[in-house]
């Protein structure tokens, strides 16, 4: 029986490995043929829409769900054969902050520490340490049900860090957070990685995966749509998009040709709007001049970061709108 509080990784084992991992719920494959290899200390981003299979993958890796096919190892331990060792090696922060609303933040962390079989004094000390680190010291003795969404998230993350696990699974850690909280959380995650943690996080935001991950796996309806480093994916997808809205459909074609000099990929027209990937450093003023020179009736010009939809559009060639409807 697992008695130790010292959490260790099997020597030299990668953080997370999966082979042909799949999960079927009734007739639906939520996840199929997932092969991963996340070296110890690396950060993997699982990128995808709702229902892409991200949460299913996290649930299998954290032993909450059993795989239908394939195998997975966390810190060198097989999730199906040695779930207890896997649980002792992982920290999980779920999509829905899984903390007890009827207890104080401190009591929550102490309880989790006790369930990791830390001695009482050690559990207390660790709870104080984490409350401090996540900026929750002042709220430590308040009931968690009075917490804001961001505070609950931070407490949930603190709970996942109690036993200093070598592998961390974070399911959409920043969904629903304001930009400031998001930045703070990113900083914290980078610190944890610098301390040697292996991190697997899911996100719907390309930007988040780009900021944090060494490798990205794009999931689409349970299957891997693309894999690569953020820079590889960005090279394929392009960084920024220009959205030009014209006054009349007749102006679509002239607009596309006028934008050609800035284009970094094929354009996509939808109604009165043209979306086109543009090269880094493109200036809006030059774009406006070019459109004006071609006598295009422009009602709006808008520059934005590439989104997950753009990733799918480029990587899978499928139309994001019809994909969402499906």
């Amino acid at each position: 029986m697992y008695e130790s509080t010292v959490l260790s990784t099997k020597k030299g084992a990668p953080g997370v490995v999966t082979e042909g991992l799949g999960k079927r719920y009734d007739d639906l494959w939520a996840l199929r043929d997932l092969d991963l290899e996340v070296p110890a200390g690396a950060v993997l981003g699982l990128l995808g829409h709702n229902g892409a299979g991200k949460t299913t993958a996290i649930r299998i890796l954290s032993t909450l769900a059993r795989p239908t096919t394939g195998r997975a190892w966390v810190a060198g331990f097989d999730v199906s054969e040695h779930p207890r060792e896997v649980r002792a090696s992982l920290g999980l922060a779920g999509q829905y902050a899984t903390v007890d609303g009827l207890m104080s933040a401190r009591a929550n962390l102490e309880m989790v520490g006790r369930l990791y079989h830390l001695p009482r004094a050690e559990a207390k000390r660790r709870a104080d340490e984490l409350l401090e680190r996540l900026g929750l010291t002042e709220a430590a003795d308040r009931l968690v049900r009075t917490f804001s969404g961001g505070m609950r998230r931070r407490l949930d993350l603190a709970a996942s860090l109690v036993a200093r696990p070598p592998v961390l699974f974070l399911d959409e850690p920043t969904t629903g957070l304001d930009p400031q909280s998001r930045n703070d959380l990113w900083d914290l995650l980078r610190e944890l990685v610098a301390e040697g943690a292996t991190l697997v996080l899911t996100t719907q935001y390309l930007e988040e995966a780009d900021r944090l991950a060494d490798g990205i796996v794009v999931l689409d309806r349970g299957r891997v749509a693309a894999t690569g480093s953020p820079s590889e994916l960005k090279a394929r997808v392009g960084g920024e998009r220009l959205e030009v809205t014209v006054g009349d459909t007749e102006h679509l074609a002239p607009a596309v040709s006028a934008l050609g000099t800035f284009a970094d990929g094929p354009s996509d027209a939808d109604g009165l709007r043209v979306t086109i990937p543009v090269r880094a450093g493109t200036r809006l003023m030059e774009v406006a001049r070019a459109l004006d020179g071609a006598h295009v009736d422009v009602t709006d010009v808008h520059r934005r970061e590439a989104t997950l939809d753009d990733v799918f559009l480029t990587l899978t060639g499928a139309d994001a709108a019809s994909r969402k409807a499906a």
């Binding site: 029986m1 697992y2 008695e3 999960k23 719920y25 649930r59 954290s62 032993t63 909450l64 769900a65 059993r66 207890r84 060792e85 649980r87 002792a88 992982l90 999980l92 779920g94 829905y96 899984t98 903390v99 007890d100 609303g101 009827l102 207890m103 009591a107 309880m111 989790v112 006790r114 369930l115 990791y116 079989h117 009931l143 709970a159």
Partner: protein, 263 residues
Amino acid sequence: MITYVSDTLVFARRSLAHVRQIPEKLIDVTLQPLMFVLLFAYVFGGVIAIPDGSYREYLIGGILVQTIAFGIMGPANSMATDLTEGIVDRFRSLPTSPFAFLSGFMLAELAAATLAVAVMTVSGLIVGWRIESSLGSAVAGFGLLMLFAFAMLWLGTLLGLTARSPDAVMGIGFLVVFPLTFLSNAFVPAGGLPDGLQAIAEWNPISVMVAAVRTLFGNPTALPPGAAWPLAHPVPMALVWCGVILAIAVPAALWRFRARTTG
């Protein structure tokens, strides 16, 4: 094994922390039984005649069983709440047995049931109820009550694991337990009921349980002449009923628990 016991205590302490935060959680095992004892003793005490004793001596056995039967609501509600809030996922990602969670939960709920029995015993003694049997018989009476509480706890846990939400639990619980306890001999002798209802009351397992408790405490049972066979042999039949409930509820609850907590 040591970690299993200590984990169980951690989970039991969590339930106690909930009670500290929401003391109202204890109402159904403290004030509610007290209220029932006082209401029935003073409101109906003068109207309902018991052939072989006083109404207050008759009443307490019924209130004890009724309160314990309503005790399915507490655990059902707590379990349904834990499942909807996803906290069980947190526990399952920790290196602890999921069954430690279940046993800690049961331990705390059993403590609540014990408190309820104590409150009713003391308030019963205050309104004039007495245990008229031998010490051994009285101990057996309390033992039977705790066995019944244990069976109801498992039934409540099963309900909490089956219902879709905590609100649904309250609805279902009330709809089943309320008629079951009132269509019995808990508050009035079954012999005084109209024919159809009398048959229901005689075969109602709650009646058997109530009659068994009254028998063991040496209180009047006021059984109608020619009562249904189970009611005429209440103590062994009460044990059988508890056994049947446990034999169904325990495996079903464990199966639901596994199903609800493994994907």
